[in-house]
Amino acid sequence: MIRFPESMSAGAALLAEIERRSGQQVSACYQCGRCTSTCVAAFAFDYPPHTLMRLLQVGMVREVLASRAAQLCLDCMTCSTRCPMEIDVAGVIETAKLVADEAGLKDTERDLRLLRRAFLSNVRRHGRLHEASLLIWFNFRTHNFMNDIKLVPLVLRKKNFHIFPPRIKNRRQMLRIFQEINRGGKG
């Protein structure tokens, strides 16, 4: 049950933070559902995009932060370009995702978080991404060894395909960038 005004005041600070960082006004949403209508990932969400907006409006911000939807959103911005109220829905969800990370809510969609982290540590180490090693690493972590393995020969057909990770030269600078980000806060 939603209890007003408790729910509103409980979520007020977090909502204000999300609105400030995303630059969006959540109260402008009139629940038309257009964002949801063409979201390609919504079928896998626990709450569809318009419901995320509603939960924020009624102060149930924690539900949004802990939602699978916030993690699964592709940030494809389809919803944002179609919202009749010109709300950057993707931006709101994106911000919720960042706030959730900072709040240490790490239980949902662990695989996805792992993958994103793996990608970035790959970049941190090499400066560039190496798709094959990422795939293998990810499959090991998720114990799903056959995931996409059939694609590998298809990729190997391509000319100039690098078996070994490419590396950039100025890796010191790369590290500094990551250090700077960590210093900037929340890491």
Binding site: A41, L74, R116, L135, F138, V155, R157, F161, P166, G184
Partner: protein, 286 residues
């Protein structure tokens, strides 16, 4: 001759080498100089902006902008994702003093970020005169019906990428038409293909990409044309997975724009790397 800083990005050096190759071939034909960016790094793709407060998604591409400096006529990023990240970084750097300062700190010197950032379609629109292209096209595309697939990040968010109509982009069309192809109205040209979920949440990608292929076939296209390696990967490399899951029997070729133009200019499918695609059965008219 115009010379551009060329930012290939990770994809064009790994899973999408044929994109890199066909781009160089086409660029050569029209005297477009490409100077690969020295020691470029990954732009951060999708994960970076989702982590560590989001700023990583700006600092990574910022380094590339900085390296590009002002030396050329602009920096071109064929990968739609890279293009988006570069534009985004540029936008944020121009309005956020603190971010600019921090970026400078990480780079060890004040960041240079004002370089003109172009995507591949923009570059070709700028450098290729459609009439010239029509004269040189050897008819390999004529009679072919192509679906232009723009995807998400090439046109969105419109206020940042400032490129084409976000709801109905049309900038690829003049080039392909000049090359002899027929372009029907394709209503799914900006529907998302499922993005980077292929590894972790495959069902999202397969469902989204299947829709795109289904509608494309409904529109009678012989092949889809894209400028994004991720879109390519979801639509072509995973087409067999789609067939497995949905019991369909799709064989819809997916070409990079530069491959399609390359065909018109007389290069062979092998030269353009089309034969290495998952759906490599050439469209009937090839």
């Amino acid at each position: 001759m115009s010379v551009y800083s060329y930012f290939p990005g990770c994809s064009l050096k790994s899973g999408a080498t044929e994109y890199d190759r066909s781009f160089r071939l086409v660029a050569d034909c029209f005297g477009i100089g490409l100077d690969e960016l020295e020691d470029w790094n990954c732009c951060g793709a999708s994960p970076a902006p989702h982590h560590w407060g989001g700023d990583l998604g700006i600092l990574l591409p910022a380094r590339n902008l900085h390296i590009a400096g002002a030396s050329h006529d602009g920096i071109v990023a064929p990968c739609a994702g890279c293009f988006n990240r570069l534009k985004y970084a540029q936008h944020e750097l121009s309005r956020n003093d603190d971010l600019r300062r921090r970026t400078g700190q990480a780079l060890g010197q004040p960041v240079h970020y004002q370089t003109d950032v172009l995507n591949l379609v923009q570059l070709l629109n700028r450098e290729i005169d459609p009439e010239d292209l029509a004269r040189r096209a050897r008819g390999r595309l004529s009679g072919m019906t192509l679906g232009t697939y723009y995807g998400c990040v090439l046109v969105r968010p419109p206020q940042i990428v400032r490129y084409d109509d976000p709801a109905n982009p049309v900038k690829m069309e003049p080039l392909l038409k000049a090359a002899g192809a027929t372009i029907p109205y394709f209503p799914f040209k900006t529907e998302c293909c499922g993005s980077y979920m292929g590894l972790a949440r495959k069902e999202i990608v397969l469902r989204a990409s299947r829709r795109i292929i289904e509608v494309a076939l409904e529109c009678g296209v012989d092949a889809l044309v894209t400028v994004c390696p991720l879109c390519y990967q979801n639509l072509d490399l995973r087409q067999r997975q789609i067939n497995d899951v949905y019991g369909t029997d799709y064989h819809l070729p997916v070409l990079y724009l530069t491959q399609a133009l390359g065909l018109a200019l007389g290069f062979s499918p092998e030269e353009l790397g089309i034969e290495a695609h998952a759906v490599n059965r050439p469209p009937s008219a090839l």
